[in-house]
């Protein structure tokens, strides 16, 4: 599919080199297995509970240096830098055509030190407040977190990544330092390099990364569905809906990812009988689709779209699942779905940026891109039937909507 050279560095961090011969762009990412969901953990002083949004706040602050802003140092080299935070990962990266080595030095220096002042923390609160407000008005973002809130009573993935404005108001230097020291360590770190690069030179350089050691122990969160239905109103013209199924996170994550995708492909992709039926009834349109979200202590599949007939859709989905359980699934359909999903993976891994982020995501979830790709071949019809029966049960289902206010 695509080449991935993975190696545990002597310093303890992981290094992934993703060679892309002939490409002009190069991208370097330093990713930490630390995200918005890691707000509760224990360290040598006992249990810690941090403010929602702390990982994302820290991400913003990593760009500050004593003599100014690291964005400028990258920009002077013709490189453009950015970062993101999701549930399990905080990632810093830059891309450009030249100066990879110098850029990598800056990136390593940047994640290896933290420069905080009362003033730069206050300034960031204004910027992040605007970022939070932007998401407040985004119905797609709102429904996403309402679904997760409905699905999980306690797990911190139910809270928006950037936190709430009133949370971040109280973030302090001490708390940010705690978060940095607890998680920005070799054990939690992956260096990912993609492009037409020299693999040996890159790994050698990555050895120079300076970080702390160890890792705080995360609190694993197991809990129950909070609400079966979660509906709000917003200024939208079209209703949005999510039909979500929770999955048992104790199942191997590769299996959860591959099997959920295979089930979705057979159940409701445009090549399925159900899709055809729902489309002909005008219940669904091209906004209809699905998303598989799997992590260490959470897992779910979201069927989503826009339109007002979500109850009818949910009923039809239930009926179709029961039907599949009764009459069984053809092994050929499982293979066909697996092949289609593999082809799609291959297509998306042709582009540098999604491939790099996917690699980081897999790292935080303790797996690798190629392991997932290969795992598709190992799934058989019995695995699929068992998973369908246990995980796509009505009791695991929630419905979330955003209607016209």
């Amino acid at each position: 599919m695509t080449d991935i050279i993975s190696k545990r560095l002597e310093n303890g961090a992981m290094c992934y080199v993703l060679p892309k011969k002939g490409y002009n762009e190069k991208e370097v990412m330093i990713a930490f297995n630390y995200g918005s969901a890691d707000t509760e953990f224990s360290d040598k002083n006992g249990r810690v509970k941090q403010t929602c949004g702390i990982a994302h706040f820290l991400e913003h602050k990593m760009f500050d240096e004593k003599d100014g802003n690291v964005f400028d140092s990258f920009s002077k080299l013709g490189l453009s830098a950015n970062a993101y935070t999701d549930f399990n990962t905080t990632a810093y990266y830059f891309s450009g055509c030249e100066n990879l080595e110098k850029g990598m030095d800056i990136l390593m220096r940047m994640v290896g030190s933290l420069y905080l002042t009362a003033e730069n923390i206050e300034k960031e609160k204004g910027i992040i407040t605007q970022e939070i407000n932007m998401y407040e008005d985004d119905p797609y973002w709102q429904i996403y977190f309402n679904t997760l809130k409905a699905m999980y009573g306690k797990n911190p993935i139910r809270y928006s990544i950037a936190g709430r404005t009133e949370d971040i108001e109280n973030i302090t230097e001490e708390e940010l330092r705690k978060s940095y020291e607890s998680f920005y360590t070799y054990e939690n770190c992956a260096v990912i390099v993609c492009g037409d690069v020299n693999c040996d030179a890159v790994t050698e350089q990555a050895e120079k990364l300076k970080l702390g050691r160890g890792s705080a122990e995360r609190t694993v969160c197991a809990d129950d569905i909070y609400k079966r239905e979660y509906s709000i109103g917003m200024p939208v013209e079209q209703s949005l809906y999510h039909i979500g199924y929770r999955a048992d996170p104790r199942i191997d994550i590769k299996d959860r990812i591959c099997i959920s995708n295979i089930i979705m492909d057979i159940l409701c992709s445009p090549s399925s009988a159900l899709y055809e039926r729902l489309y002909e009834k005008s219940f669904i349109d091209s906004s209809f689709g699905y998303e598989v979200l799997q992590g260490k202590d959470y897992g779910c599949t979201l069927i989503k779209g826009e339109g007002n007939n979500y109850r009818g859709i949910a009923e039809e989905i239930d009926k179709e699942i029961k039907n599949m359980l009764l009459s069984g699934i053809d092994g050929k359909d499982v293979r066909r779905a697996a092949e289609r999903l593999k082809t799609r993976m291959l297509f998306s891994c042709e582009n540098i940026s999604p491939l790099v982020s996917y690699t980081a995501d897999c790292f935080s979830k303790n797996t690798e891109v190629l392991d997932i790709y290969d795992n598709y071949d190992k799934i058989d019809v019995d695995d699929v039937m068992l998973y369908l029966k246990k995980q796509f049960d009505e009791n695991n289902r929630v419905l979330s909507t955003v209607g016209k206010a």
């Binding site: 453009s80 977190f145 489309y279 066909r336």
Partner: protein, 402 residues
């Protein structure tokens, strides 16, 4: 890029490279953007994959696509004052012939099975524009700015026109009037691709003509429009008329100036509005080349509208060329990086087709590097429209219990 005539009114362009493992193809039916046909074009684009000779339903088409390891989609593009129906295909080299055949079938022998469902779908998608506030503000700004030009027409169509469209009739009209371009990028031999296309997509000749875009416009006064909505963050969208010829050499100056003004994290706007005054999370400016328009977008507190607008206008007057070498490097790098994605290779090629100025990557890079200063670049630039989507009502600022 190798170009060859398919017939009168249709060309194919093949860029053969082993950089990618896949092959990507787009078939573009290019038409002038007009109010009378906007809705019908958009509807046709969304209905194109509902069935065809050999594969009578959407489901059968999708099953076939699975068998030949391909993905396909159809959509509508608005580029300058052209309205383009696109059929997009991605496949593996060994299945290119089959994929071209299926695309040819869909394009030349379509079956519009679910006309009613397609109409409801288009209606829903036009309605859902408002869900994305940033895009909504952008589209509204353009609509107001170009209210008397073709560019002001919505590429997605109009709800009130949907019911009167007949897909079969409009399909015939399009096939007789569209200028067709087929672009192929990827891991495939040029001759093989050409042969597969000639065999799989035997298009009829048309007499298509497309007018170039008019780019000169001097606004008599500034249009200031504010729309209220129940939102937390306001969206400011400022439209400038640059009055610079998009196919002339001065255009490269405009590209450099735009980069310095609002191109990225080191631009004047980002530094002043976000980093210095903490007034926004995002602020950018971008060029709409074919209309010689520059648009600045920002997400801000509505009460700061005037403050931010003042910073934008003064930043433009004070724009310094100090960082010009970096800006040029950013631009030339992004041009090179665009060569790493089949979609962007196609997109920039299409842009050049429409602008009527073909240039190789090296030539374009040279033009950018040849820019010596940005003096006078904004001399003929005028604000045309200031659109503000304003948070009028109150939204509880509480993410937990809504």
């Amino acid at each position: 890029m190798y170009t060859s005539k398919l017939n009168r009114g249709a060309d194919m362009h093949i860029f053969s490279t082993d950089k990618f493992k896949s092959v990507t193809m787009c078939i573009l039916l290019r038409l002038p953007l007009k109010r009378e046909t906007a809705t019908a074009n958009a509807l046709l684009a969304s209905a194109l994959m509902q069935g065809c000779g050999g594969y009578r339903t959407r489901r059968q088409i999708e099953r076939r696509l699975e068998d030949i390891h391909s993905v396909m989609s159809s959509d509508i593009l608005k580029k300058g004052e052209e309205h383009i129906i696109q059929l997009f295909v991605r496949t593996l080299p060994e299945y290119f012939d089959e994929a071209a055949q299926l695309a040819g079938n869909i394009l030349l022998r379509p079956l519009f099975n679910n006309e009613e469902a397609c109409k409801r779908e288009l209606e829903a998608s036009i309605n859902s524009l408002v869900n994305d506030k940033r895009r909504y503000a952008f589209e509204k700004c353009i609509e107001n700015m170009c209210e008397n030009e073709a560019y002001g027409i919505s590429g997605d169509g109009y709800i009130r026109d949907i019911n009167s469209v007949s897909l079969n009739m409009h399909y015939n009209y399009v096939m007789q009037n569209a200028k067709t371009d087929i672009i192929v990028v990827g891991n495939i031999d040029r001759d093989r691709a050409e042969e597969s296309i000639r065999r799989g997509i035997p298009l009829d000749a048309t007499d298509a003509s497309l007018e170039p875009c008019n780019y000169l416009y001097y606004p008599p006064s500034i249009k200031e429009i504010t729309e209220e909505m129940d939102i937390t963050q306001g969206k400011l969208c400022v439209g400038f008329r640059l009055n610079i010829d998009p196919s002339g050499d001065d255009w490269y100056k405009a590209i450099v100036a735009n980069e310095l003004f609002g191109g990225g994290a080191s631009s004047a706007l980002f530094n002043k509005v976000r980093e210095k005054d903490s007034l926004c999370y995002y602020i950018t400016s971008k060029l709409l080349r074919l209309k010689s328009i520059m648009i600045t977008e920002a997400g801000i507190d509505s009460e700061n509208r005037d403050k931010v607008l003042d910073i934008i206008t003064s930043a433009m007057q004070e724009l310094s060329a100090e960082d010009m070498e970096n800006a040029k490097k950013n631009i030339t790098d992004s041009l090179k990086i665009a060569q790493d994605r089949p979609e962007s290779i196609m997109d920039s090629f299409l842009g050049s087709l429409i602008a009527g100025r073909m240039m190789s990557l090296d030539e374009t890079i040279k033009k950018i590097n040849d820019v010596r200063d940005i003096d006078g670049v904004f001399d003929d630039c005028h604000i045309d429209t200031v659109f503000m989507l304003s948070g009028g009502g109150t939204v509880p600022n509480d993410g937990h219990n809504k």
